[in-house]
């Protein structure tokens, strides 16, 4: 019998026989269930005990499906029955578990149909626990193993199970919740379904109005969002490219420092950038007042609206564009550029006809991320938006505002989704079917050409002025944490830090007395757990997307991008709607936060991975496969080491986002699992910026440290390139 099948069989039976089938209210890892009546207590029992006690007869078919794979003993993989048995067991088992999970809920029958058929019932079931999880995983594996045995994707078990795994989790944690809320777009106030309601809401002037072109009436949120997202996407991509060029193709001495400074704003906690922009450019801001005085004009509220959001979003999203670009710019093979120069192209021509076109995957992916981030951004428009309404804030207030209209939120989310998916589609068209492969297995030890002169000075100017601006903004933030009331009373104080992070040494040892410690530790652990998971899921998906072809791949890619394109508010509410009731009951746990972050941020891992991987020649994988390695081994030993920049991008991004995300988190935090951002929002709402900033400053240092740790852990990608201008001075001396 196949050893992996045996392994999964064992896992499945452990789930059925040993672990508690249902979720445990006080937490599994407290392990209290072990000596609290296990296995016959009805709250803690494994599936067989529930079944024996007769209170949950519906679990009986599960072991039947779980036993089926034993029949494959002695069968060869190529045997038609082998795959049939596995597929039947996997599909049947999974299907049964899902159907059963949705039939009986926390208060009896979930559907009125069953109630009518069998009458009201006393039986209850709670959320599925670890036992059910293992069993479901085993079924999933049997299914994919069976499909692979039928010859799908050359019978590659690793690839087929990866695809199956990703489809399953994306289905459970993206499609399932999001559908729950999108459906409400079709519901009227009484919950009845009608298409009319959808179209009335969709054609609202608040969404599509174009009055601002001709009058002083504000434009619709959809146009505002679209325009903002396009300019933010374009400008962050351009800035990201500029910094990537400075970092890789300039003789500039301190480019490492510059590089570190560039990614600083990625770790910007919400609202704080907005406030420092107000203090600089607002009506009473330093810069505005200065210009008003010098030129003798009336100071205006110019920053509120498009300009303010644009500046803030550029600050926030240039780093991620840079992280995507740098991998691509570094990866371009110098030999191609050298070939162009040998053919007498000058540096400018080489850059425009060789280097730049090869950067297209980077440009396209960076633009896409900037575009989507801008669309979904919530904090900056809230602080700086003025009368410039955008979809993300409209969605938030459709749900929590006085109008209290979840249907409207769903319609707006639908519009937003259409925009982001169109951008996604446009990006694919632009990249086309061209090849961007530049990292091959062949000897490739050239050096990158320096920037052409006519490009160098503009690039330097932009890079340095933007860096200067970033430094000013950050210094202001730092300053704000050490004064009594930022913008009013600038006497030095440490009070904010003491309130938030004080530690006392009392009779009971170390006491974390500061008010921020609780949310601080939760945030760090949630971020630490979710970052590697995000990177793993993201890169695995990228590998499948770039390297494998299978039916429905486009749909698959679309599905993985979906969660990113959906605004956080919608994700937050849909997660409560979907995961507050069985079969998957997660609200109030830390797990729901981790899952939310993993699936929100996974697309960045996917994008960074796709951009980097489309540069790697497939012959590298093939060489490894030819030498007898399987695809898992190839992935680990050949592809992953070449993807280090993408891994870092995904890790850093997801870690940081777990610390700075707002709109989804507001709904998912609980008393036990409170996050830094919800603490910060509470203070900002109270106009208590000092405390908020003190917290942010600490977070910034934690994030900086974590970026360094990630870089140290993952290491740099080593592509065989010769060092520029290495002098062989000692050798010459010896010769002399």
């Amino acid at each position: 019998m196949n050893r992996t099948v045996l392994l999964w069989l064992a896992i499945g039976w452990v789930g059925f026989m040993i672990l508690p089938w249902y979720v445990i209210e006080d937490g599994f890892w407290g392990l209290q269930w072990l000596w609290d009546g296990y296995p016959f207590d009805s709250d803690y029992g494994p599936a067989w005990a529930h079944w024996l006690e007769g209170d949950k007869a519906w679990l009986a078919p599960v072991p039947l499906f779980l036993g089926l794979p034993l029949l494959t003993r002695g069968l060869l993989k190529s045997d038609a029955n082998y795959s049939k048995i596995l597929i039947f067991s996997g599909l049947g088992g999974l299907g049964y578990m899902v159907a059963q999970g949705f039939t009986v809920g926390i208060s009896g029958w979930e559907s009125t149909i069953f109630e009518a058929l069998f009458g009201p019932t006393e039986i209850r079931q709670y959320g599925l626990g670890y036992g059910a999880m293992l069993v479901a995983a085993a079924f999933l594996f049997f299914l994919t193993q069976g499909i692979a045995a039928r010859g799908a994707i050359n019978g590659d078990v690793f690839v087929v199970s990866s695809i199956g795994f990703i489809i399953a989790i994306v289905g459970a944690f993206i499609f399932f919740p999001v559908l729950q809320i999108l459906v409400s777009a079709l519901q009227d106030n009484n919950g009845a379904y009608s298409l009319g309601v959808f179209f009335t809401k969709l054609s609202d002037r608040k969404i599509w109005g174009l009055d601002c072109l001709f009058t002083t009436v504000d434009c619709g949120a959809a146009w505002n969002s679209l325009f903002l997202a396009i300019i933010v996407g374009a400008s962050t991509t351009a800035l990201g490219l500029v910094f990537a060029l400075v970092a890789t193709r300039s003789g500039f001495k301190y480019r490492k420092v510059l590089r570190a400074l560039t990614i600083l704003p990625i770790i910007t906690p919400p609202f704080v950038i907005g406030l420092s922009i107000i203090l600089l450019f607002g009506l009473s801001g330093v810069v505005t007042q200065f210009f008003a005085e010098v030129f003798g004009v009336q100071a205006t509220r110019w920053v509120y609206g498009l300009p303010g959001i644009w500046i803030a979003q550029m600050l926030a999203y240039t780093p991620i564009a840079f992280l995507v670009m740098i991998g691509v710019v570094e990866g371009i093979s110098p030999s191609m550029e050298e070939a162009a120069q040998t053919l007498r192209a000058d540096r400018w021509k080489t850059f425009t006809t060789v280097s730049l076109p090869l950067m297209r995957p980077g440009l396209a992916n960076a633009f896409l991320i900037g575009f989507i981030e801008s669309m979904a951004d919530f904090g900056n428009p809230l602080v700086l938006g003025g009368n410039f309404d955008v979809l993300s804030t409209e969605i938030f207030f459709a749900i929590v505002g006085a109008q209290n209209d979840q249907g409207m939120a769903a319609v707006l989310a639908f519009v937003l989704l259409c925009f982001t998916l169109s951008a996604f589609y446009a990006q694919r068209r632009w990249l086309g079917r061209k090849s961007y492969t530049t990292v091959t297995g062949k000897g490739d030890s050239g050096t990158h050409a320096l920037l052409p002169n006519r490009l160098r000075w503009p690039v330097y100017t932009v890079a340095f002025s933007w860096t200067g601006f970033t430094i000013v903004v950050y210094c202001m933030i730092l300053f704000g944490g050490f004064v009594k009331t930022w913008g009013l009373d600038h006497t030095f104080t440490l009070q904010h830090y003491i309130t938030a992070f004080s530690v006392t040494w009392g009779s009971e040892g170390l006491q974390w007395t500061g008010s921020a410690w609780n949310s601080f530790w939760t945030t760090i652990s949630i971020a630490t757990i979710s970052a590697p998971l995000t990177a793993a899921v993201g890169l695995l998906t990228a590998y499948i997307l770039v390297r494998q072809t299978f039916a429905g791949k486009d749909l698959f890619e679309f599905g993985t991008m979906l969660s990113f394109a959906i605004p956080g508010t919608v994700i937050g509410v849909s997660y409560i709607l979907a995961f507050n009731v069985p079969p998957i009951e997660l609200t109030g746990t830390g797990a729901i936060l981790v899952l939310c972050f993993v699936f929100r941020n996974m697309p960045v891992g996917v994008r960074a991975g796709v951009a980097a991987m489309s540069q790697l020649d497939k012959s590298l994988d093939e060489a490894s496969l030819t030498l007898g390695a399987n695809s898992w081994y190839t992935c680990r030993k050949v592809v992953l080491p070449l993807l280090r920049p993408a891994i870092i991008a995904a890790l850093v991004y997801s870690f940081v986002r777990a610390m700075t995300a707002i709109s989804a988190v507001i709904f998912l935090v609980s008393a036990e699992y409170d996050m830094a951002t919800s603490y910060i929002i509470g203070r900002v709402e109270n106009n208590d910026y000092g405390l908020a900033i003190a917290y942010c400053t600490v977070l910034i240092f934690v994030m900086l440290a974590s970026v360094l740790v990630f870089q140290g852990l993952v290491g740099e990608r080593k592509i065989g390139r010769r060092e520029p201008e290495k002098t062989d001075a000692p050798a010459q001396e010896q010769a002399a």
């Binding site: 890892w29 209290n404 760090i524 507050n580 609980s670 603490y679 509470g682 140290g712």
Partner: protein, 345 residues
């Protein structure tokens, strides 16, 4: 790699600590408190009750709109027990949608008339815990700098010299701004009330999203006049910002901060204990510790000398039942969108 080990150790350590935290819940029971007041007031309530009763309080703070959305989404399997604080409308909405459950506290006898009226209007599903009058605040320095007269009435705000100097929240997103709209309708009558809103629209420089944002902007000199609850303006002044608050001469509406028991609460007994405790005079007097200048609902609770006196403010007879109902709210908001927001400035 030392960093890596350190990181791992911290991560595992924290997870372990968190795990332990769950295992050692106090024996006297617990209560899940959803709090919609300002952060420090929520902390005070949670810690105060925990200390007096020995019941563990799991407090989560969200704005009243967020809390309502959360309770509604959780309706099938409620995770909260009691909802304390936040403006009355969402509480009334929760009562209307059957998300809360009625309770008559023995402490009800000591409450102000408006607090009991709030409870009666919702069939006992919610109760008033504090109240605050609507008005506006202005930044003295900015006003002087622009040579503007000091406003005293609602109608003053319509004067053309205030163009670009007034800020209020968008009633679609903010309960404060909806109270403003409903107040004008009740104060001047529906037609004249909407005429007022149209005139005001010409002077508005921004409709903010959040209710208290206009006065915060005024505090930082980013705006001149902000229409908010008076106690919010007083709070900025107490912090040291050059803000003066105004109770408009024509009279004004008010909000009733409320408390509700969530239907299907798992810790109903503890929740009721909290409910009774929150209505006590000495509990409500403690609001002053966190400079919350709302008027408490218990007759014997202490009122700050800095707090706006409800007796000296001309209050209208605000019809919470009518203007708190979702049908009337939807109608007024739609009318405001169509007739006011869509006007050129």
């Amino acid at each position: 790699m030392k960093f890596a080990k350190l990181l791992m150790t911290t991560a595992i350590g924290t997870v372990a600590v968190l795990g332990f935290g769950i295992g050692t819940a106090a024996a006297k029971g617990k209560v899940n408190l959803y709090c919609s007041a300002q952060e420090d007031w929520c902390q005070l309530m949670a810690k105060g009750f925990e200390k007096e009763s020995g019941i563990t309080v799991n407090m989560t703070r969200r704005s009243s709109g967020e809390t309502f959305a959360k309770i509604k989404a959780e309706a099938k399997n409620p995770k909260g027990d009691v909802w304390w604080g936040g403006t009355g409308d969402p509480h009334l909405q929760a009562a209307e949608e059957g998300l809360s459950t009625p309770y008559a506290s023995p402490n009800q006898a000591n409450l102000q008339g408006w607090a009991v009226a709030q409870s009666d209007s919702a069939g006992g599903n919610t109760i008033g815990i504090y109240s605050g009058a609507l008005g506006y605040g202005y930044n003295e320095d900015v006003l002087k700098k622009n040579n503007l007269p000091v406003p005293a009435c609602w109608k003053d705000l319509l004067k053309p010299e205030y163009k670009g100097h007034v800020q209020m929240a968008n009633p679609n997103s903010s309960g404060t701004a909806y109270t403003t709209l409903a107040t004008m309708v009740q104060l001047f009558g529906e037609d004249a009330g909407f005429e007022f809103m149209k005139g005001l629209h010409k002077n508005i420089n921004q409709y903010t999203k959040s209710g208290s944002a206009p006065i915060k902007a005024a505090a930082r000199g980013e705006n001149t006049i902000g229409i908010v609850f008076i106690h919010d303006a007083v709070k900025q002044a107490v912090k040291g910002f050059p803000i003066k608050s105004v109770a408009p001469c024509e009279g004004t509406g008010y909000e009733i901060g409320s408390m509700s028991l969530i239907k299907g609460a798992r810790n109903l007994d503890e929740a009721k204990k909290f409910y009774d405790w929150a209505l006590q005079a000495d509990t409500q007097s403690r609001a002053l510790e966190v400079s919350a200048f709302q008027v408490p609902s218990n007759k014997s609770a202490e009122v700050s000398p800095k707090a706006p006196k409800l007796e000296s403010i001309k209050l209208i007879k605000y019809d919470f039942v009518k203007y708190g109902s979702s049908a009337e709210r939807k109608r007024l908001l739609k009318k405001w969108d169509d007739e006011v927001k869509s006007l050129p400035k």
